[in-house]
């Protein structure tokens, strides 16, 4: 998903994957699965078949790990801010964990995509020989759209449409 905020000489793009459930709801999900699996294994253990318990425990551990990894991945954000002087790139989950600032006048956008249906294109921004990939969670059409909007922002033209 791309959210665009174009106000008073500064244009900001927030790029992140779509996430349909909150951390809290995921906790409830993990807890509900834990109760089902744990409940069954405890009843079985009560009748002497305790060997089901370690498998149930491992499974619950796997569920929690998988949900955590999924949510963490979906929480990743990429913020691209274009102002009069610079292009600022920030990556992180709940805060900016990595930031880069490129001089606007030396920055070049680059979009490459082969005709192959397997290729989802590469959008990047480069300055002084360094290149940074942008919008890696986006598909071909979205990268094209982000490319167009970034070009407009760099030209100083208004970025009108909220990207789809």
């Amino acid at each position: 998903m791309i959210d665009v905020d174009d106000t008073e000489g500064r244009c900001r793009f927030v790029v992140q994957g779509n996430r349909s459930m909150s951390w809290r709801a995921n906790l409830w999900l993990a807890a509900s699965l834990g109760v089902i699996v744990g409940g069954i294994s405890i009843v079985m253990a009560f009748y002497g078949f305790w060997m089901i318990v370690p498998f149930a425990g491992l499974e619950v551990l796997l569920i929690v790990s998988c949900l955590y990894l999924t949510l963490r991945r979906l929480s990743h954000k990429e913020v691209i801010t274009v102002d009069e002087r610079a292009i600022r790139l920030e990556w992180g989950y709940t805060r900016a964990e990595r930031q880069v600032e490129l001089p606007r006048q030396w920055s070049r956008l680059h979009y490459a995509c082969a005709e192959s249906p397997f290729d989802c294109g590469v959008l990047s921004v480069a300055a002084h020989g360094e290149r940074y990939a942008l919008g890696q969670c986006l598909n071909k059409e979205e990268k094209k759209s982000l490319y167009g909007q970034l070009q407009a922002a760099l030209r100083g033209a208004p970025v009108l449409a909220k990207a789809q």
């Binding site: 498998f55 920030e90 360094e130």
Partner: protein, 547 residues
Amino acid sequence: MSADNAHDGVTHHAPGDHAPEHGHGDHDEHGPASGMMRWITTTNHKDIGSLYLWFSLIMFFIGGAMALVIRAELFQPGIQIVDPMFFNSMTTMHALVMIFGVVMPAFVGLANWMIPMMIGAPDMALPRLNNWSFWIMPFAFAILLSTLFMDSGGPAGGWTLYPPLSLQMGDSFAFVIFAIHFMGISSVMGSINIVATIFNMRAPGVTFMKMPMFVWTWLITAYLLIATIPVLAGAVTMLLTDRYFGTSFFSAAGGGDPVMFQHIFWFFGHPEVYILILPAFGIISSIIPTFARKPLFGYDSMVYATASIAFLSFIVWAHHMFTTGMPLAGSLFFMMSTMLISVPTGVKVFNWVATMWRGAMTFETPMLFAIGFVIMFTIGGLSGLMLAITPADIQYHDTYFVVAHFHYVLVPGAIYSIMAATYYWLPKWTGNMYDETLGKWHFWISTVFVNVLFFPMHFVGLAGMNRRIPDYSLQFADWNMVASIGAFGFGFSQLLFVWIVIKCVRGGKKATAEVWEGARGLEWTVPSPAPYHTFETAPDITKHMVR
């Protein structure tokens, strides 16, 4: 993250910084690796879906060949072709292969292909886990099938592995248990991935009560798998320790109870039956509205019926064990709870029929298979209702009537739904239309032979023919001969299916994005063939959801 608080610690660009490429996606921007490495290393849900489906097809022919060995032996009374031990291995392996190697992987393959596209997600939530959950399967089945070539032969005590019989098999026993563990790990990983995907990666607006029925049925199936696989894993591990480490969980000599294995096994096994059929319900609920050109009748009741079936599946397990002896109260409870399942199942059948009622129906191949499913699954359901009645079951138990019942549920039930799904979504997968004439031939030949194969089993079963025997009394000869003819006819007619699929993959009339006139849902909004990467940005769902 706000740009306002991002000024602290800003790294201003300077030449010579280390490699700045940064990303978190699991997919390769330029597409997959080439050659075999594409398939080994892929994390793309469509690739993995295809792998599951091809694997399932190969296993279908391996399991089918085992069925033909069984039917060839049963063509006439007497020991004709294979020795009884090998015959027993064939019945055991046929079941294990068809359940864990055909039906389950096929549904997982369909889930991989379709669930992300149906909910507007770019991929499964855990793509690398997805790759692992597939690639464990070929190893698991290589181990399982290799036992046939071991000195002690393959497992021959039935797929239920009841002790003490299963504990008497040779050294291949440990390999069988190991293979079952691998299958379980694969299933659990696949299920967790599906749950994580459905909960976390739905496009905005795709609320739970707007999800296609296939997604709903798979979500509930995944819950069943997550709940029951540890029970299976524990049960087979206890068999292993009884055999090799001197424990007595199921050994009466050491104070254990072999009947308890049956309880534990069927606590897994009966939900497993629904694991094998709930996704089929979802497929049929997608296909019938398309070709009836009407929305699914009673969507909400379909969801609640699916959930009810899943819940009830946990409290009916002992109907597999009426003959082991149990208190009257136990018999009554399990008989009634089993009969109760026919209510939500009846709701489903009613809703499918009501969807077709006064619809602008056309009868393309997927619809033919779907209608075949509704009719023949209902036959299997009705014989199941007969088996639920305790005093009747005591007569029918371990006869060919039971074999007829579960084969009607699984072959014209689960397998037909997989074939219907394949014909339905094949144009979306390949971008080409399949050969409709050949598809219809495939349906009619299969339907004739599947009934020639399984319907006579009701008669021989009611007349008293036991299951899992290589030889039988002369009075059963005629119907067994008929069933064997049906088996070979059905088996060889599936070669036509393979030909149709390969022909479609290689080319044909180009499919449109919508493919079917009445199709609704997000998967039909993407071009045919579906692009390698879809919906990395959530789509607008308002025009395309099924409801």
